[in-house]
Symmetry: C2
Subunit: 137 residues, 2 copies
């Protein structure tokens, strides 16, 4: 779960192998990346009371990518969460620039807070093929 | 290739089965959708002189989806193609509203023009597992 998230529940799914472009992935890695996103997405949507999801890859610098490691943004959406629907992407760009979107004064969460969040999320994936390892929580 | 494209080369990859949400797809359909996008994307980027790609699913109405049939937007990007990077998504929303983005006076392409475009693109996919059928060109 992102600490620099543009919305609560905003999550990234990364390829295990560090490559910058979607086309750098093998077919097997594409399958792994997107079947993982497919498993995670509805759980996040439900948990964070979303009604829709934005799923996006900013594939290269000219598309707004700031970290050269392929990743899928999963963002639970509710009606009116942004004044204009596509402001979600402005928020993504601000996140890439290291800025916080929704509260300039918000402090970074502590490791304890992040562990507590992982403890809430872990059971939600027990019925799936995914697990959140204890040592990565 | 989209006639209401927000940028030249803007393409949609649709699931064969008509369902509205990404989570409605089976695992096999997710694999089919995204391995197809993975095959198409670099070919479009090269053909349309892109330097990056935007890949996105607007998964549900609150995420800007206007047609309830799962589809991946693939948009070749070049530096400065939009004044602000994320204007690409405003363009997507305008497209959804049936508006043309880059030229209000642009006329819809004729079937002949679309066939000519398909004729250019078809050979580009001959080295892939994909084909553009003649009867759908």
């Amino acid at each position: 779960m992102l600490d620099l998230a543009c919305r609560i529940g905003h999550c990234l799914v990364l390829s295990r192998r560090v490559v910058s472009r979607f086309s750098d992935l093998t077919r097997e890695e594409v399958v792994d990346l997107w079947t993982t996103a497919h498993t995670i997405a509805p759980v996040l949507e439900k948990q964070f009371n979303g009604k829709s999801l934005t799923l996006a890859i900013q594939d290269g610098a000219q598309a707004g990518q700031t970290v050269p490691h392929v990743h899928v943004h999963i963002i639970p959406r509710i009606r009116g969460d942004f004044e204009r629907n596509d402001e979600v992407y402005e928020a993504l760009d601000k996140e890439g620039a290291g800025k916080r979107f929704d509260d300039e004064d918000r402090k970074a969460r502590t490791p304890e807070e992040m562990k507590a969040e992982a403890d809430v999320l872990r059971p939600l994936f027990q019925s799936t093929s995914l697990t959140i390892p204890e040592d990565e929580a």
